[in-house]
Symmetry: C2
Subunit: 186 residues, 2 copies
């Protein structure tokens, strides 16, 4: 079942609330006339202002060259209803199929980058590559989020988290511990 | 409630199953006669063989200097029963308190590093700092896991994942999609 998320702009320094819990994301890219999507689980927030993300993408992925050449991509947050698409995207390569078409996903124009947003995802973070110094040695891209869009409802998406060996953890219930935090640590 | 996890050695190339879903971890360190613990949510798997982890730790943390000088630390995986300790550890600084003592956690000798394991955690990954080239610009440590210990039961720990604003997501149910994967992508 596809959801038609109504989205608003999200301040880029707030994206950590969606990435820090460790969801599988879909990375969309565009180079010349071609678009592509890959599934990715190896990423981390690196700073919130400027809003930085680090992520591991090997040269074995068709997306690697597309992101390296265009110096842009979009990090999209899929929810559990897209789990079969997440797996299918990971199982196939953009050298052979048009993944937007094959998985019936809708590319939308981004505001700050040429790479397309994936409409069916809960949130979309437009990114520019800002540091390639770890690319050759570690296949590690450092990205800056330049624009972010996130659904208004629900407040927290039901994300999927990879446990290896074909098993996914579905994000569970939330516990607020706000009163236990020092305000500056929230 | 504390759990007395029975642990076995885990091949270091298998640690991703515990880190990739994005849990909050506790980082323990030792420098000279002092030990310390910090709570950390900004980390990613970077490779499984060699087993590499990248993590963001700023100089504002007392642990930063301890890890930089000793070039070692342990990544410990706490479960939800330690959530109040996770928050308390994040709220306090090792310059003022002995966190093992204050939070009644038990330091155990590691095999390959001098930093202590935290006995009460589900898993413990002994790490050496292998690359500091992003430290000054991004506060980003690249670690290699040299030895790993993980509980035998339960198969998957109930971990906590930070959503920001004082809210934690508790890891939810698992779904096996193993039959949908290409074997080489598992």
């Amino acid at each position: 079942m596809r959801r038609n998320y109504k989205k608003e702009n999200l301040p880029v320094d707030k994206i950590r609330k969606f990435l820090e819990p460790g969801p599988i994301v879909l990375v969309s890219s565009r180079w010349k006339d071609e678009t592509n999507i890959m599934s990715m689980g190896w990423h981390t927030v690196m700073e919130f202002s400027p809003s930085r993300i680090g992520c591991f993408i090997t040269g074995a992925n068709h997306s690697y060259d597309m992101i390296r050449k265009s110096r842009e991509c979009v990090i999209n947050i899929p929810t559990v209803n897209l789990l079969d698409e997440v797996i299918g995207i990971g199982n196939s390569t953009g050298t052979q199929v048009d993944k937007f078409r094959k998985f019936k996903l809708t590319p939308e124009e981004a505001d700050e980058v040429n790479a397309p947003l994936i409409k069916e995802c809960y949130a979309n973070f437009e990114c520019k590559v800002v540091d390639e110094s770890l690319l050759r040695k570690y296949s590690f891209f450092i990205l800056e989020v330049v624009k972010a869009h996130a659904a208004v409802y629900p407040k927290y998406p039901t994300t999927v988290h990879y446990r290896g060996e074909g098993v996914f953890m579905i994000s569970g219930k939330n516990i607020s511990k706000v009163r236990k935090f020092k305000p500056q640590n929230l």
